[in-house]
Symmetry: C2
Subunit: 166 residues, 2 copies
């Protein structure tokens, strides 16, 4: 697995499933400005509210092959692992698929991550323990205080100025 | 920027440029089993050797629009930032582009990362200081010793067994 950081603003993200896990995943993409479609006959109240507020597009139906077509990212997060794996198998070669029920079946893992100003850290235990990954991430993030965040912002501005003056 | 971890095995990766930065980037993808094409009139000796050993496909020419077509990932790493930005502008919406000369122009950042057994950490300062990101990454990785790596592997095996026995 190769860690990469993505600008997902305006990218099409398909979330299949409407439960707690689907919600947790889609929030990550929503915060970054992705265009989200949720396909699920039922959804948790939070997803229904996001849909009402036009923050995402909810289609209250079961997933079909044609639904997979346009998305760059697909989150397979139904409560039926056979459906999730069917999604991974039927996605095209250049689509990025996260299978919530079994990360090995997809080609994308969503690691635990933390942002402190310009600093982004991510931690994955590659299936060993999501709980431990979360603990490690929180513990590491404590090592960077507000002063560090401010200094990093200053470094960014200095570097951007140097690039502009080149 | 959203941190995600990718399985890039057998994915098409186009590297435009043949210098030290192109080499550093392509090594990351090569270690993970990606299919790499390098397009550059000239390359550093290491890339020429990898091509001779059939580890990648080197095309000794300047990049053209048609070359961008099939890749999932595109690394724009020529020594001409105008060419790199041309690549980012001409990639299609669902292609993932890293612009080495100016990360803001692409939609993918390659963070500093470290692997210790099943643990993967990544660190990005989002353009503030790649050098500092590297130092932070090395410093964080020292907090995890061989015993931790072994325990994590054990946790993975236990968890995999529990899943199988469900």
């Amino acid at each position: 697995m190769l860690p990469l950081h993505f600008k997902v603003k305006d990218k099409n993200v398909l979330v299949v499933g409407g439960g707690k896990i689907a919600l947790r995943r889609l929030r990550l993409f929503l915060e970054e400005g992705a265009r989200i479609t949720v396909i699920s006959p039922d959804v948790v109240p939070e997803i229904a509210e996001l849909s009402k507020a036009d923050k995402l597009n909810w289609q209250a139906k079961k997933v079909e092959l044609a639904d997979l077509k346009d998305a760059l990212f697909i989150i397979a997060a139904t409560n039926d692992s056979a459906v999730n794996e069917w999604i991974a198998e039927n996605a095209s070669e250049n689509q990025l698929v996260n299978v919530a029920s079994n990360a090995n079946k997809g080609n994308v893992i969503v690691p635990k991550s933390v942002k402190k100003g310009r600093l982004t850290l991510s931690v994955s235990t590659n299936g060993a323990s999501p709980t431990l990954a979360k603990q490690i991430c929180e513990q590491l993030s404590k090592q960077f205080d507000e002063q560090f965040v401010n200094e990093l912002e200053q470094m960014y501005e200095n570097r951007a100025n140097r690039k502009r003056n080149k």
